[in-house]
Amino acid sequence: MRLEVIVPGRPDEDIERAPALVLTGPISFWGGVSPVSGVLTDPRSRDHHRSISGTALFIRELRGSSSGSSVLLELIYRGLAPAAIVLDSPDAILALGVIVGCEMGWKSPPILRLAAAEQELISDGARVSISREGQLTFEL
């Protein structure tokens, strides 16, 4: 399927066979993701303790502390960011982390858009490939 590219990021190459992490609940990057390890830290989340690093991260619902930009930038700087981030709707807070990451010359993930209902087609752990134009394919 073809996804809208919200920000292209600065990936070194096309994303090939990244493991899908399909979050089941809402996430706030500030307070919800460790900026030093990339691990999900919200004890109320079913995905607590999982790492978002290198994944194709599917987020159906984003809760926004505005410090989320800083957490994503820190993950980018440490090489611990997801390979790609897929959101239900455009979000300026995460986009800013990627926009600044690109300005700093760091490898930064693209942010793409896929409606929450369509995200259900992607099963957790599937291998996801995304072209620079936003063409997404996956294999189970």
Partner: protein
């Protein structure tokens, strides 16, 4: 994007201003804004250390010669610059946090280091477009001052300050500032609104009830500025509220019809004591009964005003705290109260006065988790995840009595009887 000649000039001029403009334009595109709006002032939240990357970005801007183009205040950093050794950041992080704070000063921002810049002399006029960060400051700026800002997040705040522009969208547009939801508080006894504790409880409830939608509250009398500050801070942390109106009180709501732009409310939500009691209960994570031990008390999120510090001084009287009591405030209040001797008296009685930062954004509380008592809806929201402490939400009097006794003190109130 439709840019004017000044804006195109910044993009083409290179240096720090061009970098800031690129970030701003790209963010505006993501937000769906078709053009930018000139701003008159900025309040920056990006000076709080979250990791080395933020410091490197700020230093890049400084190296490229970026300067703020509008009057700009700074939110808290991760260090108390006036009281060395108060925060327990490890040396490497402490050094990067310090470099971050100094980078923002080097760009020409004022060293206010407070989340209540509106009580440190930064008060834009009603109707002015500004770019403010930090959720409570945004809620106050929009709601109480009537100036216009969106919730500008990290990095966008400083880019707006450097370029004197913000994306023209959201709460910059008058039609998006009209109330849509009416909160009808007529079923709540008027006496409830006399106590300060009513306002963080109302705010926490409001954030959950309306999220980002604009609500107008009717029937809570005439809250003070500090009460509105507490209301907004709690609403912004529980539900991303960027603007609320209080009919007959806040500048864009002199009457119900003006607040709603002569349209009927889309929704009317009745408020009652039961909902407020549930909201109060939801602000505590620790189940402690009166008389049980507590470990620390924290007040001052948003930072305490001079009036609030005077009240603390009066209620504590000549007694000493037996558990740590942290009073977070800005250096503006320290300066204002110096002639009265308030700060010195508080310190002599065991109060730790924290400036430039606060106890939920940097390690200040005693090591090891425990039970924290607070009267701040915002501290109650963030302390468990940020500090590991469990929280008991209580009134200012209950906070002070608990710090003196070392055990939880609770007073009878309207909500306990429902």
């Amino acid at each position: 994007m439709d840019l004017d000649s000044y804006e195109r000039g910044l993009l083409e001029g290179g240096g720090g201003a061009a970098l800031a403009m690129r970030v701003l334009v790209e963010s505006a595109r993501v937000l769906g804004a078709k053009r930018l709006v000139p701003i008159r002032s900025a309040h920056i939240d990006s000076c709080l250390y979250h990791g080395d990357s933020g410091t490197l970005f700020a230093e890049r801007l400084v190296e490229l010669g970026a300067r703020v183009a509008v009057p700009t205040t700074l939110n808290v950093g991760a260090l108390d610059l006036l009281h060395a050794g108060l925060t327990r950041l490890e040396p490497a992080a402490s050094s990067m946090a310090h470099r971050l704070m100094m980078s923002y000063l080097a760009m020409g921002a004022r060293p206010t280091w407070t989340c209540a810049p509106y009580q440190a002399g930064h008060r834009p006029r009603a109707g002015e477009d500004v770019a403010w960060g930090e959720s409570n400051a945004v809620a106050f700026c929009n709601s109480v001052l009537g100036a216009r800002t969106n919730r500008y997040g990290d990095f966008l705040d400083i880019c707006a300050a450097i370029t004197a522009r913000a994306p023209l969208t959201g709460l910059h547009l008058p039609e998006n500032r009209l109330a849509r939801i009416l909160i009808d508080a007529s079923a709540v006894p008027k006496s409830f609104w006399r106590d300060d504790i009513a306002y963080p409880i109302l705010g926490a409830w409001l954030g959950r009830a309306v999220g980002q939608q604009v609500a107008a509250i009717e029937g809570i009398g005439h809250p003070t500025e500090d009460q509105l500050k507490a209301l907004g801070a709690a609403a912004a942390s529980s539900g991303s509220v960027g603007l609320f109106h209080v009919i007959g009180v806040t500048p864009e709501a002199p009457s119900r019809s003006i607040a709603f732009g002569n349209l009927p409310p889309k929704k009317i939500i009745p408020l009652n004591l039961g909902a407020l009691a549930a909201s109060r209960a939801g602000l505590s994570t620790a189940s402690r009964s009166a008389g049980e031990p507590i470990d620390a008390v924290a007040i001052g999120s948003p930072h305490l005003s001079s009036d609030e510090l005077r009240t603390l001084d009066r209620l504590l009287g000549a007694r000493r705290c037996s558990k740590p009591l942290y009073a977070c405030t800005g250096r503006h209040a320290l300066e204002a109260l110096r002639p009265e001797g308030v700060i010195e008296r508080l310190r002599n009685r065991g109060v730790t006065v924290v400036v430039d930062t606060c106890v939920v954004v940097t390690p200040v509380l005693p090591e090891g988790a425990g039970v924290l008592v607070t009267n701040s809806g915002k501290f109650a929201h963030y302390a468990p995840q940020n500090t590991g402490y469990d929280v008991v939400f209580a009134s200012l009097i209950e906070c002070i009595e608990s710090a003196v006794r070392g055990t939880l003190h609770l007073e009878p109130d309207a909500l306990h009887e429902t």
